[in-house]
């Protein structure tokens, strides 16, 4: 019945929505930033444990739609063990993948995150996918304020 939406709602997204990974409060986090999308009410708190310039651990709490929940869940998986520079590079590719005009995105570079490429066809939903990454960006810059998509 929802054939048109297969690109947007891939099975991986349903899976991460049902069972979000790293969905927990991190007591010993040394970075904590809140992300908020006032348009749809998505809220998340991202926790990072930094070991030098390396992301030793990442987790989150919050509530949102399937796209935003899957996006933050996948993100916490992929950034673990990455350096700040590597995570920042991923953020830039992810941003280009979800909002850019370039068809030639190297999807291999983003691994599993490629399942979120479909949002670029749904302008109203792009912010659902990017909220996690804007929150990460703030956390890496060590901004202690809340992040809003608006």
């Amino acid at each position: 019945m929802f054939e048109d939406l297969r690109e947007l709602y891939q099975e991986v997204i349903f899976d991460h929505n049902r069972n979000p990974r790293n969905f927990r409060v991190m007591a010993d986090a040394n970075r904590k930033v809140e992300g908020f999308n006032p348009l749809c009410g998505d809220r998340l708190t991202l926790y990072l444990k930094m070991d030098g310039d390396k992301i030793a651990d990442a987790s989150f709490q919050g509530s949102g739609c399937a796209i935003s929940t899957a996006s933050v869940s996948l993100m916490t998986e992929i950034i673990k063990g990455k350096t700040e520079t590597e995570a920042d590079a991923l953020f830039k590719i992810f941003h280009e993948m979800t909002t850019g005009k370039d068809e030639q995105i190297n999807l291999e570079a983003v691994g599993k995150l490629a399942v979120l490429a479909g949002v670029r066809e749904y302008p109203a939903r792009v912010k659902c996918a990017t909220l996690a990454w804007h929150t990460l960006d703030a956390a890496l810059k060590n901004e202690q304020k809340s992040i809003s998509t608006e």
Binding site: M1, F2, D4, L5, L8, Y9, F14, N17, R18, L39, C40, G41, D42, R43, S63, G64, C65, A66, I67, T69, Y122, A124, R125, C128
Partner: protein, 407 residues
């Protein structure tokens, strides 16, 4: 229901024939904005083709023609809400501007530090924020009358908030997020007993309920044209003549003055005092056409038909496991706000859109209402006179299917 001319009405709204993602459009977002009948579309086109010039200015024929049409539309609005005089009908951009106008003119002139303004827990942001701004400017205090879990105003609590410091009661006639129709007659009686004026936000109510300013006796009533099957960018502020006469002007400029010199200007009489600058001329005339169209069908017939749509959709929705209706007031307009277990309203909105169904998903500019129910957002189907039971069936099938997909 058999007598309601639904087929003719649907044929009058050309956009209803659109295909969305290769499916017939099922438009269930009229609470956000209504679609427009040919009568409105054609009237605007006719103005620009045959009747357009600036109003209240030229001696030339076209200007006179445009002015006559514009003022005729004001008379249509007066008749539609049974105001005592066209002097009480002020054209603004929409309900939001009307409320801001009241806050910044009536409010600033009459509301001082320590005074109180009473609203309810179910207001749209446009009936919260202008009052908060006024409170910041003046030191007045905003009081909020609570509602119960069905989404009904607790009248006794509102009544208890009224005292000799209350300067205004500002209440939604009908809630956009819940559909609740407030007991406005009782509210007006209670406030007037203490000489407190009442403003009703009629943005949601106006396309569903016949209103009569003289019978209601409210002091201000505001609504937007685009929710009344008219154009966007035009709305109405009704105010009792004596109140409007005593209020300072809102914006200064052309059309709102009697005389201007560099030493002093004097202001025009009502309604022009509040209509600075060139208004949205064709849209006002389009709003008049919408009112003619509605009068032909009859507001009572529309209300009866929409009540059937609401009853049917409510009954169908209650049979869906995991669906929770948000807003179950006894007195309710044609709005079905709901949430589904573990499925975010934005996912519901996108999934239904792929089936051609347009609903609203979000906080409906009523974040305090979302907080009250402990949800980040709701999905909302809002019905208009052009909707059908068959469309409600399409909606319910869509909801059932997406619940399956989400597992």
């Amino acid at each position: 229901m058999t007598t309601f001319p639904i087929d003719k009405i649907r044929a009058d709204f050309p956009i209803l024939a659109e295909k969305i993602r290769n499916k017939p459009l099922v438009y269930l977002d009229s609470g956000a904005s209504c679609q427009k009948p040919n009568a409105v579309i054609d009237s605007i086109s006719h103005v620009y083709r045959h009747e357009y010039a600036n109003i209240h200015r030229g001696v030339h024929t076209l200007s006179v023609r445009a002015t006559d049409k514009f003022e005729a539309a004001r008379e249509k609005v007066r008749g539609f809400i049974n105001a005592a005089s066209t002097k009480e009908i002020i054209f603004v951009r929409g309900a939001t501007e009307a409320i801001n106008l009241i806050a910044q003119t009536y409010g600033k002139a009459n509301i001082k530090s320590g005074d109180e303004i009473v609203i309810t827990a179910m207001e749209h942001h446009s009936n919260i924020v202008p009052w908060q701004m006024l409170c910041e400017q003046t030191g007045a205090v905003l009081k909020v009358a609570p509602m119960n879990t069905k989404g009904e105003l607790i009248f006794d609590e509102l009544s208890a908030l009224l005292n000799d410091k209350t300067r205004l009661v500002a209440v939604a006639h009908m809630s956009n997020a819940l559909g609740t129709i407030n007991p406005v007659e009782k509210i007006i009686a209670a406030a007037h007993a203490l000489n407190i004026p009442v403003m009703l936000d009629g943005a949601q109510a106006i396309p569903h309920i016949a209103v009569d300013m003289q019978a209601l006796d409210c002091d201000f009533y505001v609504f937007s044209g685009h929710k009344l099957y008219g154009p966007s960018g035009i709305g109405v502020l009704y105010g009792k003549q004596a109140l409007l006469e005593a209020m300072p002007p809102y914006q200064g400029g052309g059309d709102m003055i009697k005389t201007v010199s560099f030493e002093k200007s004097t202001y025009a009489g009502l309604p022009h005092k509040f209509e600075a600058g060139t208004p949205s001329i064709a849209d006002v005339i389009g709003l008049g056409a919408a009112i003619d169209y509605l009068n032909e069908i009859g507001m009572a017939n529309i209300a009866a038909y929409e009540a059937e749509l609401l009853a049917y959709s409510t009954q169908q929705a209650k049979q869906i496991k995991g669906l929770r209706i948000i807003g179950e007031a006894e007195d309710k307009g044609a709005i079905l706000s709901f949430v589904l277990d573990k499925i975010h309203p934005h996912d519901i909105g996108t999934m239904l859109d792929s089936l051609g169904i347009a609903i609203r998903a979000g906080h409906h500019c009523a974040m305090p209402v979302m907080d009250f129910y402990g949800v980040p957002a709701t999905a909302r189907a809002s019905f208009a006179m052009y909707n059908t039971k068959a469309e409600i069936d399409v909606l319910m099938d869509g909801i059932k299917s997406l619940i399956e997909v989400f597992g």
